[in-house]
Amino acid sequence: MKNSEKTLSKKPKKWIVNLVFGIALILALFFSFQGSTINLLRWSTFGYAIKAMLKGFTEINLEFLFGYGSRQFVEGIVYMAIQTLAIAFIGTFIGAILALSFSFLASERIVGKRISKIGITLITIIRVFPEVILALMLVKAVGLNPLTCVIAIGIHSIGMLGKMFSESIDNMDIGPIEALNAVGANTWQKIRFGIIPQVIPELTSTALYRFDINIRSASVLGVLGTSAGGFGALLLLASADPNNQWDTIASLLIVIVVLVLIVDNISAYLRKKLV
């Protein structure tokens, strides 16, 4: 046997791993399609739905979209988009303020190792609850209105923001504070010139990223009820009878895609400028 063949025969037997992984994937796929009843009837509705969809997509009701003519501006989809933006913005704002206080609780440098573990656990628990469930609990106390969505989004944002904030506080450079100590600065000056300039860019960047995510959840949270703000009323209308509401779905799709793309690009631009 040649030397090169010997080396080749020592090649690790990767195909076993690949085989096991592949079989597991295929089994999982089979399992997932159980009871999904794919049959001819389904395919026939599929064709019909595509036809209805194409028809609906070409017949978008512009008066409904922009809220003019026979409809008031408040009834239009563009108004709902602005409301969604408002919910996400104020939700993120509240979330950032709340998260800042939680992040102090979770930062090792400020409260020590033992208490920080409690803080981290608390933040993790908050993060696990989906927004819808938080909103559902708030509906009784606050009512079915955009404020509920704002508070739910604010509380849910604590999970991610608090974790990131506490990490950036822990990674802070202690040098500037020592320098301020040396020149005899008081506590407020130390915070103002030693801590804030260091952490602000990172905190804003994180909050902007969260704003991206919150725009998506704010556009969904309206499903709680017709008066919950955002696109909720339309989503419920569309889900009740989708095949007759293709024009609504199409205009919703356009508005949401445009809204999210704009917010994504603005926040990406700002984040690039910050860091």
Binding site: L25, A28, L29, F31, S32, F33, Q34, G35, S36, T37, R42, T45, F46, A49, M53, I82, L85, A86, I87, F89, I90, T124, R127, V128, F129, P130, E131, V132, I133, L136, M137, L138, K140, A141, V142, G143, N145, P146, L147, V150, I200, R216, S219, V220, V223, L224, G229, L235, L236, S239, P242, N243, I249, L252, L253, I256, V257, V260, L261, D264
Partner: protein, 273 residues
């Protein structure tokens, strides 16, 4: 206050601090946006929050319905059927969507296809799909194929595709390219070079992302119940008006599942580093 005289006679102008502009913009935006947050302040009653928490996590006991703790736990056990459906849909969506995402991510990565005109269209499609909320995907899928498990799988597939393709091309762009170039210089084509140099590097992140997306899907299923997709979300949305204890049971089950997934995923990520 804006001019300082130093001992050597020079004057220094204090630079204008931009943070005040930013703060002013923030305040103005908050005030403007606050006008869109309509609410009825007479309806706000925060003490109801404790009432509802109590109603959620204790069995319902009124004049008409008497449920005991045994009923509460029995219902929790019964939740395994909708939970099964949710897991089933999430697994299917995660796997199919992630597999579809792999070629897209490769074509969108700048270090493998260096031509901008190849990257751009793939990135555009990915960004476009990522902007559509999963609930709209679910509504469209339900209109297309009717109710059941299938629309859930379709919605989760497209949702997973959007997230996975973005995370995957970002991780592909950060890999070490030297092995790839070495293989190419020995005469391997792009596919061979990719599978022997880059796949080993991105395999573990890929698995970690799979779990993360699976968790996201489970989380999203809570919202999908409101538009009529089967599963645990349906239980929550059906009982949300009168049977808070059932909602609470579903929430506990969902909480345990998501928490466990997060724990597993953080273990895997710890192994990665």
């Amino acid at each position: 206050m804006n001019k300082f005289q130093i001992s050597n006679g020079k004057t220094i102008n204090k630079p204008f601090n931009k943070i005040w502009v930013v703060l002013a913009i923030l305040v103005v935006l908050t005030i403007i946006f606050w006008q869109f947050i309509t609410y009825d302040s007479s309806m706000i009653d925060l003490s109801q929050l404790f009432v509802i928490v109590k109603q959620m996590f204790t069995p319902k006991n009124t004049n008409l319905t008497h449920r005991t703790w045994a009923d509460y736990f029995a219902f929790m056990l019964e939740l395994r059927y909708p939970l099964w459906i949710t897991i089933q849909m999430s697994i299917g969506g995660t796997i199919i969507g992630s597999l579809f995402a792999v070629p897209f991510a490769i074509f969108a990565a700048r270090n493998i296809f260096k031509n901008k005109y190849i990257n751009a269209p793939f990135r555009f499609v990915m960004n476009l799909i990522r902007t559509i909320p999963i609930i709209l995907l679910a509504i469209i899928a339900m209109a297309m194929v009717g109710a059941g498990v299938l629309p859930g799988i379709i919605a989760f597939t497209i949702f997973s595709f959007g997230i996975m393709s973005k995370m995957l091309y970002e991780v592909i762009e950060t890999v070490d390219m030297n092995p790839f170039e070495a293989l190419e210089s020995t005469g391997a084509n792009k596919l061979q070079a990719f599978s022997y140099s880059i796949v080993p590097q991105i395999f573990l992140p890929f698995v970690s992302y799979l779990l993360y997306i699976f968790e996201l899907n489970i989380r999203a299923s809570a919202v999908l119940g409101f538009v009529g997709i089967n599963g645990i979300g349906e239980v929550i949305s059906v009982n949300r008006l009168y049977n808070y204890d059932r909602v609470g049971a579903a929430v506990i089950v969902l909480f345990i599942l998501i928490f466990a997934l997060q724990l597993i995923n953080s273990r895997i990520r710890g192994k990665l580093q």
